[in-house]
């Protein structure tokens, strides 16, 4: 199980493959569910040119780990991975990756969704969008 904060861009597909090769046992996992959140170039009808993602070092990692622990207690999982960007992010760059490996698809789908939904409401991250004429804080996330 791993939860990582990254200050530089990452390739979610490469990360998934590398983690799987390093941590999963061949023949044991039948289902891999992943979610990738990517930065758009628009929001609320405005063009967004960049985004700054702030976090609370220490607390953010602790709560990502808790969310993974809860998912592992609730579903029968083989492993899970969360990677989340902080710092300056540009359109089309991945913001977040959640991956769950399990024997069967039901657990993988449900736990992957759980990781994302819990992350969005509990992990201390804050987004500030760069617009053509200034910046604005994103005040809230919408439900799923």
């Amino acid at each position: 199980m791993a939860c990582e904060i990254r200050e530089t861009p990452f390739d979610p597909w490469q990360e998934t493959q590398q983690y799987q090769q390093a941590h999963l046992e061949d023949g044991k996992y039948g289902a891999t569910a992943s979610f990738v959140g990517t930065m758009r170039d628009f929001n609320q009808g405005d063009d967004v040119s960049s985004m700054h993602l702030e976090h609370y070092p220490g607390m953010t990692e602790r709560h990502l780990q808790k969310i993974c622990d809860e998912a592992s207690a609730r579903w029968e999982l083989l492993d899970c991975l969360i990677i989340h960007r902080v710092g300056e992010i540009l359109p089309n760059q991945p913001i977040v990756l959640t991956v769950v490996w399990s024997a069967h698809r039901k657990e993988a789908f449900e736990a992957c969704r759980y990781l994302m939904e819990e992350l969005k409401t509990r992990a201390p991250f804050w987004k500030k969008e760069g617009l053509g004429d200034g910046h604005r804080w994103v005040d809230k996330n919408t439900p799923g």
């Binding site: 609320q44 967004v48 609370y56 509990r122 201390p124 809230k140 996330n141």
Partner: protein, 79 residues
């Protein structure tokens, strides 16, 4: 020993500083009042003591780290 108070994101900008050190505080609400330069706490403010979510009335002890921040907005982009 002292109490470390942290403000994040929009609250840091509104209060005008990210880190404040207090000699003592009774509870989370008291820590806010001492550290926030007289600003009223916005209704949706989230509070943490030693990196765990708490309510405004949680007692604060010497050596604690108290944090205040707006609703969190991680994960995929936007509204």
């Amino acid at each position: 020993m002292s109490i470390s108070v942290k403000f994040f994101a929009r609250l840091r900008e509104q209060v005008g500083q990210g880190d404040v050190s207090l000699d003592s505080a009774r509870d989370v609400q008291d820590a806010w009042q001492q550290a926030s330069n007289g600003m009223a706490m916005p209704d949706n403010t989230l509070c943490a003591v030693n990196m765990e979510y708490v309510d405004h009335h949680t007692e604060v002890k010497d050596g604690d780290e108290v944090a205040f921040f707006p609703p969190v907005t991680g994960g995929c982009h936007g509204l």
